[in-house]
């Protein structure tokens, strides 16, 4: 049992250190965003499961050492690593096991509490945003249309905004600046980009990344996961939109919206789509 716990803990640690090293190198991830995101989350979720498994075994072993049999810890070491049971070792293992078991329980409790608090805040933010957007649509909405089943609402405004709340039932909000600057085909490409976000449940990936970073604020892997998620979901949505409508329309929309130079990534995303054609 102890060997399994150690192996799981080692796997989680290796994934934590190796994952960002492997997945942040090379240009392949920009041209294979779906594969890269899948690898990121396979590593992340398997690492989380391994850490949870290791912690659970640690707690269970600690509990057995404390409560089950007085010599259980020494027996465990003897069967796992071949130590000969001695009275002194028995006490040391017993105390260490109890401390490790309680420490694992405390860490697990703290992380569950942190995740629950942050998740609660995210739900609160989402509710507030939904109410704000409803008020915005009531105040500034001037047209509503259904694009292949997806409700699209246009709001008056001179800034270029296209956004959605990410749920399948949520529509897309497009500002007048985009309505006026782009052709119908280009607007459709933007709407398909938002649809791809909703169909791909991209907000769930973003939330997992945000929750992970909240649990481990100083850890590089958590920072890189958040950063990679933000970039990769945009590229995946671009690819999906390019498949659903004319690729040139999306390239043209990105180029037009990026022409003011305020957001350099828009023109680079257009360049990537043109190169990938």
């Amino acid at each position: 049992m102890m060997i399994i716990a150690l192996a799981l803990a080692s796997y989680a640690l290796i994934m934590l250190l190796v994952g960002p090293q492997v997945l942040t190198r090379g240009g392949w991830r920009i041209f294979r965003p779906r594969l890269c995101l899948t690898l990121w989350y396979s590593i992340f979720l398997s690492g989380v499961l391994a850490a949870v498994g290791s912690g659970a075994i640690g707690i269970w072993l600690g509990w057995r050492i404390q409560a089950d049999q007085p010599s259980y810890g020494a027996d465990l070491l003897a069967t796992t690593f071949g130590f000969r049971p001695t009275p002194g070792l028995d006490t040391v293992v017993r105390v260490t096991g109890i401390v490790l078991g309680w420490a694992a329980l405390a860490v697990a409790g703290a992380l569950i509490s942190l995740v629950a608090t942050r998740a609660g805040e995210l739900i609160g933010d989402q509710r507030r945003l939904r109410a704000d957007l409803d008020a915005l649509v009531a105040r500034s909405g001037y047209r509503r249309e259904l694009v292949d089943g997806l409700p699209v609402t246009y709001i008056a405004g001179r800034n270029s905004i296209a956004c959605s709340l990410g749920g399948l039932r949520d529509g897309v909000i497009v500002s007048a600046a985009i309505d006026l600057a782009l052709t119908a085909g280009e607007r459709r490409a933007i709407i398909e980009h938002e649809r791809a976000h909703q169909r791909g449940a991209h907000l769930i990936f973003s939330r997992l990344a945000v929750l992970n970073r909240a649990c481990f604020p100083g850890v590089r892997a958590a920072r890189e996961l958040t950063r990679a998620t933000a970039l990769l979901i945009e590229l995946i949505a671009d690819d999906a939109a390019a498949r659903r409508c004319d690729r040139t329309e999306l390239i043209s929309a990105l180029t037009k919206l990026g022409a003011d130079g305020q957001n350099a990534t828009l023109s680079l995303r257009a360049e990537r789509l043109a190169l990938a054609a």
Partner: protein, 120 residues
């Protein structure tokens, strides 16, 4: 300098959003200064904006005025995005076409594109 259709429509809307009262086509034309489009072009643009739902046209037979159908949302949107930025949750609650990407993401994209172009 000739404006494209979208630019002209956007310029007309800016004037109407900034105006404190409905404007006639002549007043809107005057708002362009020396670079004003012809009144017929302006009326076509205003009609197109009306069909899009952005502009209201008065029912008067003479002295027809135009006004923005809805007040603009920019300040509300900005404060909404700003409050989400402060909580750090924007990325986790709102999906924007522009994405939540910064200059380091642009650098990653640029390097990958340069690598691909060199190989071609």
């Amino acid at each position: 300098m000739a404006r494209d259709r979208g630019q002209l429509e956007a310029d007309v809307m800016r004037q109407l959003w900034d105006a404190d009262r409905p404007r006639t086509a002549k007043e809107i034309q005057a708002g362009f200064g020396a670079d004003a489009p012809a009144i017929t072009t302006l009326l076509t643009v205003l009609d197109r904006l009306r069909r899009k739902g952005l502009v209201n046209r008065s029912d008067a037979r003479t002295n027809i005025t135009f006004s923005a159908a809805q007040s603009e949302s920019d300040r509300v949107v900005e404060s909404m995005l700003q409050s989400l930025q402060e909580t750090g949750d924007r990325q986790a609650v709102l999906l924007r076409f522009a994405g939540d990407l910064d200059s380091s993401d642009a650098e990653v994209l640029r390097r990958a594109l340069e690598g691909r172009t060199r190989r071609r």
